[in-house]
Symmetry: C2
Subunit: 141 residues, 2 copies
């Protein structure tokens, strides 16, 4: 709790009750939640929470660099709360978004072809390890 407040303050975000709770959810839950997932979690603790607040807060968090916005699913924005930059795999079978810790040769590149690079996102699409092994089990059956 104290930690969460400190994190917010270190990013110049005023630690309101709602913002603390949202940060807590990001810390405790699996990564890559969308607004609705966060909203549903929040309802358990703040039944009066408004979805607009979730949107506002996440956009503040993104501006201040506390979360990263992922557009890997076409439907809606996903939010990534993890310090170290990494890439992502979308499993087209189960829909999960999985961290992929491949080393990226452009991770520290500031410039390509004269363009200034501020962010890199690598999106892989395919079938995750778990789905593959289920598939194999199916075939054997």
């Amino acid at each position: 709790m104290e930690d969460l407040i400190k994190i917010l303050q270190s990013k110049n975000i005023h630690p309101s009750h709602q913002r603390i709770k949202i940060l807590e959810i990001l810390e405790n839950n699996e990564d890559h939640m969308n607004v609705n997932m966060i909203y549903e979690e929040l309802l358990k603790e703040i039944p009066t929470i408004s979805k607009t607040t979730v949107y506002n807060t996440l956009s503040t968090f993104a501006e201040k660099g506390l979360v990263h916005c992922l557009t890997i699913t076409p439907e809606e924005m996903r939010y990534d709360y993890r310090a170290k930059p990494h890439h992502h795999l979308l499993c087209t079978q189960c829909g999960r978004i999985i961290d992929v810790d491949v080393q990226c040769p452009y991770a520290d590149v500031m410039e390509i072809d004269g363009h200034r690079i501020e962010e890199i996102q690598g999106y892989f699409k395919g079938t995750c390890r778990e789905c593959l092994s289920h598939d194999k089990a199916q075939i054997i059956k």
Copy 2:
């Protein structure tokens, strides 16, 4: 025209008038159009075209591998019509999506951490060359 029909047929897509025209637009216009851009272009030639047809056609094209779907802009899907795989830069200043032909070390990787990889998309965000030089010109003024 004949060529367009052959392209569609080679992908097992029945070459209807609308589909030929949509493919023509993809060939002649700058890459990375969204549905609306394609729809507006189409209206000039087929005033009765329906936006649903554009959606249907593009999703068919994507299924058959004739276009690639980009989610680099959070608002809407962009369609990439180009043979060679490549990555993209979104300029946060002018909004353009620019092809980035960096060589990707994972281009031919079929598997990472046990996951099967079928597609890779690299999204860079930053400021494009042109915007940077405009900025510089501004400062000098």
